[in-house]
Each structure stands twice: as structure tokens, then as C-alpha cells.
Point group: C2
Chain length 506, copies 2
Amino acid sequence: MSSLAVEEEGPLANNYGDVPLNELQSVDNPEAGKWSAAVYGKHWTEVGALIDSLKDQEVLIRGRVHTTRPVSGKLTFLVVRERGFTVQCVGTLNPDYISRQMVKYVASLNRESIVDIVGVVSVPGVAIKGATQQVEVQVRKLYCVNKAMPTLPINIEDAARSEAEIEKALKEGEQLVRVNQDTRLNYRVLDVRTPANQAIFRIQSQVGAIFRQFLLSEGFVEIHTPKLIAGSSEGGSAVFKLDYKGQSACLAQSPQLHKQMSICGDFGRVFEIGPVFRAENSFTHRHLCEFTGLDVEMEIKKHYSEVMDLVDRLFVAMFDTLNEKCKKELEAVAKQYPFEPLKYKPKTLRLTFEEGVQMLKDAGVEIDPLGDLSTEAERKLGQLVLEKYDTEFYILHRYPLAVRPFYTMPCHDNPIYSNSFDVFIRGEEIISGAQRVHVPEFLAERAQACGIDVATIATYIDSFRYGAPPHGGLGVGLERVVMLFCGLNNIRKTSLYPRDPLRLAP
Amino acid sequence: MSSLAVEEEGPLANNYGDVPLNELQSVDNPEAGKWSAAVYGKHWTEVGALIDSLKDQEVLIRGRVHTTRPVSGKLTFLVVRERGFTVQCVGTLNPDYISRQMVKYVASLNRESIVDIVGVVSVPGVAIKGATQQVEVQVRKLYCVNKAMPTLPINIEDAARSEAEIEKALKEGEQLVRVNQDTRLNYRVLDVRTPANQAIFRIQSQVGAIFRQFLLSEGFVEIHTPKLIAGSSEGGSAVFKLDYKGQSACLAQSPQLHKQMSICGDFGRVFEIGPVFRAENSFTHRHLCEFTGLDVEMEIKKHYSEVMDLVDRLFVAMFDTLNEKCKKELEAVAKQYPFEPLKYKPKTLRLTFEEGVQMLKDAGVEIDPLGDLSTEAERKLGQLVLEKYDTEFYILHRYPLAVRPFYTMPCHDNPIYSNSFDVFIRGEEIISGAQRVHVPEFLAERAQACGIDVATIATYIDSFRYGAPPHGGLGVGLERVVMLFCGLNNIRKTSLYPRDPLRLAP
């Protein structure tokens, strides 16, 4: 109980106060206390649903105290926020509902506390700047459901500020708080309450949903492969190792081997959405030690172009749907982190690696025609492609065999190249895919040629001895898709609780 | 090239043979070889789509050699299987298409090899017993795309056999092969090709899809929380530990803490589908060291019954949809592992723990009224509930506080009990859920009372200091849902690549 609440007596004292934990759980018993009586038989209206047509109606809302603005002993403004939506509430002295004590109580609420408000919707004649909803709520009753601490490590207002606002204020001589990336991540629970972050993770959820829905509708089966595996998943060194009941084990760097085995197991077309683990010491803007992999593997009848066809249809459908369904979210992101909508074509551009190298050469960039592309070269090629083809989304295929994993199928007409591809958004790689070697003897030969101890991947190679269909697939990083679609500059912005070489918390 | 294929000359020699790897990748070039010429411009028809209405039409199919039955030098039967569907193909000597050499070639194919067949659909007057499709394919051309080894570690026919068939044969004096669980799992790639296993993992995929679709349609956000965490996820001891760049880390036993933090982060309603890790030494039919968790967390307005309402609607919708959409798959499972369809009500039965204890007592089973239920007691209660209420799916709630995790909200009217529940299918627990303590001081008090070092979960407890809405949630094991819905006797049957204390492969 707030000390303010107990001081007052009389009927108006029932209209506000802290809700005791016990009372909060007493279902539909109006006798349990003043909050119980106030909410009895009522439904909560979402803040985002408060619109003109509710004018003069009484509503019950629950949200956080975004800001309070005491004007006088008779009047306090209060902005209430629920999932990124905000509404201005007005607590005015009123002989029937609101005492002076209650106005004080409202003014004294800590930011981010959770409140229940019973009030009447009104529509002011002028635009409301400080809130998303263009109506006000005239407070009649207000109860604090849960209190936040008085001083927060981050203010949501500060965390929601764009770089442009900070710079504009600076020019006007005002120094606004800039919350840096590490502080944000340390207090992620507060940081994700900003409109941009609420939007980013709703977009991420949509990306997963679209990916899945598309694949399910094309006859793919969703699988779940083990993350705990013996040996290292692709023969790489950057794995997290652990003891598994006395056996040495590691965390899967990708579901590569198991998704291929599932194709050998006759599922025809499979996909998986799950964590992948990389123990690399990368401190770039686009690497994480744990991220969410979107993986696909499918039988092919003839050619790896069947996999590229899928990529084309899947991602074009994804971008179309995001632009259509996530308008509000994309606007919320752009408000804090301005970006231009992604340029892409209904039919995705495909270039061969050789063509890419030639484009770079023509632009004066000399690179090893059989080496991998550096991040810089990828970015440059992205620029050249944008200028020439007006698209920021394209497929580069027929990579040199030497720069791809051992299980990649060489090109039948020139084994220096391979039946493989990468896909780029805004000059950065997001997808890697290929046809796989499905002939066990050849697979063993390729593994050896790449310096891998065949004994360590015997189970995998054996899977192909029981009859294996030609197949191919691809892997995508969910966080990268969201980052690059929204033109964000750091993958830590699109991972809810990112893990990098220095960060293991929260 | 098969030695048989090269012996022959003349036009009929073009109608069969092994497809060289190079030719297999040469897209749409009829000049590349005889297979390329044969499939040029054609589309593959799925084996499952071969029906009466295709009579007299020429089709191209790809599948595995399920069985071959040479009748004479002029006739060989061949059953071809694709994703669980089978069709009988007939290779008969024919002056226009099939030579004696070709009949021999067909008869010599190893089981499980992948073949492309061009043939004409015919409809025999009698029922075909040995195949799912009730049409035949009169072979005109046949090419082997990939060869299986001659002797397989498991025959699919053996792996697909029901216990009843084995016992029936035994009574008739015939000893059929029984493939035991460990052999199956060692050669999982072959084992999952059986119709029952194909069905099980298609049902599993559906369970995930229904779960997600239902929650997305109710405004839930799909999240991905880290599996690599500092400390232990719920203070338990059965965790896998590892070194994370010099810090000690462990694998999350559940997304419990992070999903609650996401609620504190204003996502309102969240869910996650992902791996959870338990280092327990359990060798039961229902425990795994790694399984797929379906996790839900949501704000509640008043009472934990809001979470039970969700469970009710979600799972009834799931069962309804499975029964409707997965008829064929459920039949395929039941054919090898007979089971009765799950009995459940449109509105799920709820009993309190006290009522459950009383039912057991009335039936002569004395148990500790404030202890947890043993597996045996759960099973017995399941029987009693089935007899009394005619349902195999019910919710038991208000568990004793002492048997639940520290973050469980005690009952407001009697803190010996808690706002928690378990859900049972066929007498086994599949879901555990509860309202959580959202008041930081009380949460710390509860943790201490449960013997947990509060310092190790400081970040988690701090999350509630910035204002936390009342909330609750639940966790479900995907493999258990499929196992119990299908009345299977071992969770290893519903995990694609199971992990238990002794098994880390394949």
C-alpha cells in the first residue's frame, strides 16, 4: 500500500492506490478490495485500440507509466504505453472521482510502473504530439499493479531517440542522452521497450512465419536436428566443445549433415529453424556466436538451379509480405534508424561468379578470380549491381570449388567451379547454398582432398551408401535477414539477447 | 555404367542404364546422353499421385527400388517407393522398348537405389496388395540415378513390420526379422524410410505448425532466446557445462528466464520453439538429453486460469486439426503401432490437485497430499479420470508450492498451494505451466527459500525491478506430444536423432 493511499478516507479513496498482490489474483470477487471492485466484470481495452469511435465511453486499460507531467495540485498528465502504443491520460481534480490526494498519487508514480486505469475517452480538437493515439483518457480510477524502481538504468525516451534528433539538439546547444550499444544490451529488458525494438522483433517473428508458411505450402517437412553432436559438425575448428556424459561433444555449427541425412531418410524436402553455434572470435557488425539459422534441404531432379528457383520465390514472397503486413513496424524502425526500402525485382537477378569478377575488373577492382570475395569486394559488387540492374537483392552462383565446403558438387562442365551460390542483400551475403555431393565414394574423395579425416564423418558418408537422391539446399541467418532488410548497421540490434565473444549475458 | 548396359548395342540399349554423375547435372540438353534424352521436357509425377485417371498416360517417376521380383527372363516386377508411397512397375520383354538385357538389368537393381522410370499407367482388374497405389506402371525406360550398396544393414520391410505380424508368423512357424530400437537408431537414415516413421515426423511437423499458427493468430510474437547462458538456467544441477571464451557457461535447460524477461520487455505474449538440454541420467521411455521445447509466456490480467484457457483452446484445436489433416499419417502409424484415437473433450476438464489426491485416495491409493505425483500415481489418476470423465486429456492445477520451481506464484488464498498446473495425455504429463512471481523482492525471497544463490540470477531478478506485468506461461515437449497423441511407447520414436545419456550419434 502506498503511504498516500492509506492517508485518505471517504469514498474517493477507493479510486486509486497500489493493488496488493493477493487482491491481484482474486478472480471476479468484487469484495476483495477496491481494485477488484473497479475492474469487476470489465474487459481491458488495448492502448493501440483507443480511437475516436470510443468517444465518451468508459474504458479500462493496462499499461506502463511512460511519463508523468504534474501541472498543478489539481491536474496531472500521464502518458500510458502498451507494447509501443501510447495514450495521454488526464487526471483532473473532480468532486465525483478525483481527490487532491489522488492527483498527487498519479504525479508520484514511477516511470515504467504498470497501472490499470478506468477512464472516459475524449477527443481533443488538436493533434496530440506526445502519444501515438489521437484520443485522451479522462482518468476516473487509477491503480498501480506493479511498481518500477524510481531511477531506471535507461530511460525509454533516451533509448528511443534517433541519431538525427541528438545531432539536431546539439546544433541548438542541447546535449541529449545517447544510450550506447553496450548499455542497451546490458539492460536489454528496458531497451527492447522502444518502438523501434518492438518493431524489429515483430518483423523478425514475421520473417520466421513467412519462411515457414511458404515452405510448408510447398510440401516441406519441418525437422529438428540435434545441436549436441559428436565430433565437429563440418570439420571446422571454431566449435564450442563440451563433455557429454564422458564423451567429447560439440555444438552444431549448422544442421548441414543432419538435414542432408534427413533427405537420405526420404523426407524429400525439409527445413529447420534453430540455433547454430560459432565459436569464432569475430568482432564484426555481422557475426554472432549464436544465431538463428533458417535451413533448407531438398531433393533436386536435375540441377542446382531448382534450389535457386526456390530462393527466388521464397524471398521475393517474403519481402512482398513484409512490406505489406509490417508497414507500421517498418515505419517505427525507420523513425529511429532511417533506411530506404529494399530494391528488389519480381524475378531475382542471377549472375555467375565469373560475371561478378568481370564486373569488378571492369570497375578497376582486381581480385583473385578463383578466390573468395572479401567483404569489401562483395560491397563493391553490390554497388555495381545496383547501378547496372537497379536491384539490391541478387544471386551470385558457380563459385570456385576451392572456396566452398567439401560436400559441394563441382560443376559438371568445369570442376574448377561448383554448383553453389551466395545471395546478397544491400551488398552483404545472407544466404549460402549449393548442390551437395550425393555419391559416397566421391564425397569421401572430396573430404580427403579438403584435408578432413574421413573417419570422423563416417556416419554421414555412410548415409549415402543406402541410396541417395541428388539434392541441394541453403542456409540463412534470421538476424541478418532482418538487419539487412531494415538497413540496420549491427546484428546485435536484431538478436534479442545477442552472444558474441565477450557477451554471454543477459 | 553398369556392365550389363555397355554389353548391349542397338536402339533398345538407350532405354536403360546407370546415369553418369555428369549427365545428371546437364540441364535440358537432350544430347548429353540417353537419360537426358529420355527425360527431356518431361515433368516427374509423384508416386503418391499415380491414380486411375492417369490410365494409358505416359509418366516419368523417380523413387527407390523397394523390391524387385524377377519372374522369368521376360518379366520382372519392381515396386518403386517415394516418401512412403509405393507403386508396382512391370518390366516385360517388348520388341519396341524392353530387351532381355534390360529385364535382367531391372532384376539386378539393388534395393533402395534411386531410379527414374518412364512408363505407361495401367489399371489392373484386381487389388494390388504389395503397394499403396492401385495402378501399375508398364516400364518403357528405366535409369538408375544412384545405387545403394547390395546388402543394407536394415531392410525397410523388416523395419516396417508390426509386432502383431511378427507374432502371427511365429505362430505359423515362421521367424521374421525384428529390428530392435538400437539398431534402428544406429541406421536412422534407413529406419525413417518406413511408412510409420515417415508419418510420425510429418505429424511432428504439423504439431509445430498448428502450435505456431494458433499463437500467431492470437497476437503472440515468436522469439529466439540464447541456448548459451552464464550460470545454470533454473538453478538445476543437471546442466551441460562448457567453456565460453574463458567464461563458464551452460546450455539452457529451458527458455524460462529469457521468455519471462521478454514479457518484462513488453512483447505481451511470446512463444518459442527450440532445443532444450537436460544432462539428467534418465533412462526412461520418456526422457531425452535434448528435445524440442514448445514454450509460451503471456501477460495475464488477473488469474492463471487465463493461461489454462489458452492451453485448452490451443490443444483442442491441435487435436482436432491433427485428426482432420493427418488421417493418412495416423493410419500409417497405427498400422505398425496400433493405438486408439485420443479421447478428449471440446472443453478440457480441470481438476485441482486436491481433487486428484482425493480421487486416488478413494481408489485406495494413498499418497503424500503435498508431495509431487509419481509416474505411477499419474498413470493411475489418468485411468480414474478416464473412467469417471471419459477423457484422456485433462488439466490438474493448484499443485503444492513445495514441488514447483521457485518462480511459481503461491495461491493467494492458501500459500501451501500454487497457481500452477500440469496437463496430462493418456496418464502422462506433457505440459507444465504456472503464474510466475513478478514482484522482485518476493521473487528473491522465494529463490532463497528454495536454496538458490540469488547472486547467480541477479540479472533475471533485476528484470522485474523496471516494472513487470503479472504473467504466466507453459512449456511442452514436442516429442512427448507426438508420442502420447499416437500412443507410442518410447520417445526415441518421435525424435529424429535422439540424444540420451548413452547416445550422441548419428
